[in-house]
């Protein structure tokens, strides 16, 4: 904890002592289990029995399993559509909020509302609002717009629409804040010079705002995917992946393998796939951070 005058050696020791308590839980509860799950994926592990090495058998079974394929494509489809929705609404909100005004803070606090809501409460709210017979959404659709009512429990496409709607609602405030922060940082002069050159609002949006908020959109998108791949609660509480795997995700399949039939080995193989997907997306962000941290100083 000394400053400049301390000898190098003791400074290193002190800084290590300060950071190690923070690294400890990460190593114990994430890194070691992560390594352990690689080993578990090549073994047959059942609680209370000695485990047995089976090589790549779980992976081979997984690749041949139709349910896995379904869950995999559902995860991809779900992630793309919900992230697209989150970023779209986040960007839209950021554009609408970008010109400063008096009630700004109040508006932001209303946009932030879904951020406080847990998945289960979100499901309670939206299930009631989407109720086919008495729900307020069907009332609006049928009475004011003359559209057919949503029977979302019966049709898989509509079930997915509800899952994605929930997800977009829960997550778009996050995308909004990231993009908004970048949007309000754009200097007014850039807009003014565009207007002097004869640009209209739409052209200014496309040629001034969008290029400058692209990095923020990238960050929102990457984090969106990282959090979409891991999503379990929304689908589990709403449908448990059913009926007949029609809303199965990798996460719900993993849960069933591990905690309903206690096939820890097979569950670990799914876990490895989920991890790979996550780091495939995160790699771009991590590479940028790595460059910023290690190469910019040189």
């Amino acid at each position: 904890m000394r400053t400049a005058q301390s000898p190098i050696g003791s400074r290193h020791l002190i800084s290590a002592l300060l950071i190690i308590p923070a690294l400890l839980p990460l190593v114990l509860f994430i890194l070691l289990p992560a390594i352990q799950s690689v080993f578990m994926s090549v073994q047959t592990v059942t609680l209370g029995l000695p485990s047995e090495y089976v090589g790549l058998e779980h992976y081979a079974n997984m690749i041949e399993d139709d349910v896995f394929h379904t869950a995999f494509w559902h995860t991809i489809m779900f992630s793309f559509t919900s992230v697209a929705g989150e970023v779209f609404f986040g960007l839209l909100a950021a554009v609408l909020m970008s010109t400063r005004f008096k009630l700004e803070k109040f508006y932001i606090s209303l946009i932030m509302v879904p951020y406080a809501v847990s998945e289960v409460v979100a499901i309670i709210i939206w299930k009631y609002m989407l109720e086919p017979d008495v729900g307020i959404i069907n009332y609006v659709l049928v009475a004011f717009m003359g559209l057919p009512q949503i029977e979302w429990i019966t049709y898989p496409v509509q079930t997915w629409a509800v899952i994605i709607l929930l997800r977009v609602w829960l997550r778009f405030p996050f995308a909004f804040l990231i993009i908004y922060a970048s949007m309000v940082g754009i200097p007014d002069e850039l807009y003014e010079s565009a207007y002097i050159d004869g640009a209209n609002n739409l052209q200014a949006l496309i040629h001034v705002s969008f290029p400058l908020v692209t990095p923020a959109i990238m960050v929102a998108t990457i984090f969106g995917f990282v959090f979409a791949f891991r999503n379990f609660a929304t689908v589990w509480i709403l449908t448990t992946g059913g009926p007949i795997h029609r809303t199965e995700l990798l996460s719900t399949l993993l849960y069933k393998e591990a905690f309903q039939v206690w096939h820890f080995g097979a569950a670990s193989a799914i876990a490895i796939v989920m991890t790979a997907l996550t780091f495939l997306i995160a790699a771009y962000y991590l590479r940028n951070m790595y460059r910023q941290m290690f190469l910019s100083r040189a």
Binding site: I108, K127, D133
Partner: protein
């Protein structure tokens, strides 16, 4: 920024109103429905003018004592996880802010990368271990796990806040004969209090709404509110919506008020967290 043309004057307010409706109306509707009688809840078309009643809240207290226990558990876990995270992230953030060496750089990058790891994936290898050492179904396991998944963000947050405290202040204090302990308690902690607050806020919000870990690692002894709410949503006897709405309101309202009170910290923290950590 944008020119106030006639179309802008129409599109912007209309867009904003639709956006705010989308974001906040569902929650407003939940709060309102919590004060309706069962008949009123299922009236079609939905009503907005009615005689409010506290009946549903009463039923939560009498029929769902589990829910009140859940609130207590959630509060204990949120508080414990916030405290633990602050205790370990603040020194780490200080180290990253004031010192520079290979080990720290590597640690900082390790923190960024490891936080991407999907939580549900670690549940599989952790389950047998936790069962063996008796950490299942305790407050401790959720405190530890929530802390683990927020320690990276929190350390980076603390670093950012501490970067804003000039080193010269510490050096001056040191020249005036202040001990290391005094420098920490008199300078670092007071000046980075906002960082500590931001950390506690993020952990609290997360702990309050977390479902997956709570669902897998707790049983009957330590249930948090999201788990109890899920049970209220799917009982074999059929859902009673009045008490369910009342309970959801009790779960959501305190954290919502909290978020509004601390909004500025949250906004700054999210920017820091997403861009840097």
């Amino acid at each position: 920024m944008f020119q106030k043309t006639p179309s802008y004057r129409i599109i912007r307010p209309v867009g904003l109103i639709l956006l705010l409706l989308f974001a906040a109306f569902p929650v407003f509707f939940l709060f309102m429905s919590a004060f309706k009688t069962p008949n009123e809840i299922f009236r079609f078309p939905p009503t907005f003018v009615f005689r409010p009643t506290l009946e549903n809240f009463g039923k939560v207290f009498t029929d769902w004592s589990l829910f009140m226990v859940g609130m207590k558990n959630s509060a204990i876990i949120a508080f414990g996880a916030s405290l633990l995270t602050i205790l370990i992230a603040a020194p780490a953030g200080y180290a990253l802010s004031r010192h520079q060496n290979r080990f720290l750089d590597t640690s900082a990058f390790f923190m960024l990368a490891i936080r991407m790891y999907p939580p549900i994936v670690v549940t599989v290898p952790l389950y047998p271990v936790l069962a063996q050492i008796g950490l299942m179904d305790t407050h401790w396991i959720l405190v530890l796990l929530y802390c683990t998944f927020f320690v990276s963000l929190s350390t980076w947050l603390m670093k950012t806040y501490m970067d804003e405290v000039p080193v010269e202040l510490e050096e001056a204090a040191s020249i005036d004969g202040a001990s290391a302990f005094q420098r920490v308690t008199k300078i670092i902690i007071p000046l980075s209090a906002h960082g500590l607050a931001a950390t506690a806020i993020f952990v609290t919000i997360f702990a309050w709404k977390e479902y997956t870990f709570a669902y897998i690692f707790t049983g009957t002894r330590v249930q948090t509110t999201p788990i109890v709410l899920h049970q209220m949503l799917s009982p074999v006897t059929g859902v009673s919506f009045g008490p369910l709405f009342a309970a959801a309101t009790m779960q959501l309202l305190p954290i919502l008020v909290f978020i509004w009170l601390v909004q500025s910290y949250l906004v700054k923290g999210m920017k820091t967290g997403a861009v840097k950590g």
